[in-house]
Symmetry: C2
Subunit: 162 residues, 2 copies
DNA sequence: CAAATAAGGATATTCTTTATCCTTGATAGA
DNA sequence: TCTATCAAGGATAAAGAATATCCTTATTTG
């Protein structure tokens, strides 16, 4: 059970977009080059963010992506779910219904107890991601990344931002 | 990102094994029939439980599986990890290393901040499952399942337990 | 000795993920 | 107006994981 690599890509891309000045856009091409990723496939991840309403886009030269909201209003969960989807990790196929001792007209009162427990764990995972904002990530990165690298990366992005 | 169906199967099988009297074993065939599952493939899941030391086995007629420990000493996490593995859901491919602004001899001080956050969510998921014991599930099931069905299922199993 | 069992190797099938290619319509700038 | 650039998205292919089946081996019971 492994998350799509696009989740990792989307999170890193959002971190870059968070540093973009107001009104500027960054293209798929620039984001792909900065992270060393296949442009066409990264594009699919960015489209997912767009469809979820997390980023705005414009077409044409100097077009690209920017965040639709301030980084403090974007949670990890939103970004992860935009790319990965909202399906639970545990899918209940209701195998209890195959119990040969069961009356044929038997009707379940509630979801299977096994599923309920597994879904609680899923919810704990979501709750943790819901509690982290994109601005939190930027704050951590700004402390951890050496200031020269931080600065040069920012300049690299600005040179390509439309 | 969906868990293997074998996780569901393993949890239900453990719930059944939890009701087995001391010293008795239940075969793959019986467990597969009870849950309406493909015997050969369910066998792989049970082998995983065996390799993890969660169940004991014996060969020959009247052979099969039994829990290696009391249900109160078996957590959901152990069962899930036995089948699904212990790998994290988020795999960090360290794409920050592709940053074109990076000095070539640059060496990371710590794991990527994105990965650390995602791994915390993974750990919250694990912690939740670590807190649920197989005996908890049995307790819930014994309350929810109608007593006639509970009883007849128990008898069905005992008839087949070696 | 015969039947039943777990263990596990080999292989096939199906589905998801990853990836590429191409077309369309919109936009900016010359 | 023309051209280059861009996002969106459809079609398709390649790779990998999950699902499933079959078969052999060694062990155990009766």
């Amino acid at each position: 059970m492994i998350l799509k690599s696009q989740v990792e890509w989307a999170l890193h891309c959002c971190a870059i977009l968070a540093g973009l000045p107001d009104g500027r856009y960054l293209s798929t091409k620039a984001l792909a080059e900065f992270h060393g990723l296949p442009k066409e496939y990264l594009s699919k991840a960015l489209q997912s963010l767009s469809q979820a309403g997390l980023v705005d886009t414009t077409l044409g030269p100097s077009g690209g992506y920017r965040l639709a909201r301030p980084p403090a209003d974007l949670t990890f969960l939103e970004i992860v779910e935009a790319v990965e989807g909202r399906q639970r990790t545990f899918v209940c196929t209701n195998i209890r219904a195959n119990n040969p001792c069961r009356p044929k007209d038997y009707c379940e009162s509630s979801p299977c107890a096994v599923a309920r427990i597994m879904w609680e764990a899923d919810e704990a995972w979501r709750e943790k991601l819901r509690g982290v904002r994109l601005s939190d990530l930027v704050g951590i990165l700004s402390k951890e990344i050496p200031s020269e690298l931080w600065k040069s990366s920012f300049e690299w992005v600005l040179e390509r931002a439309g």
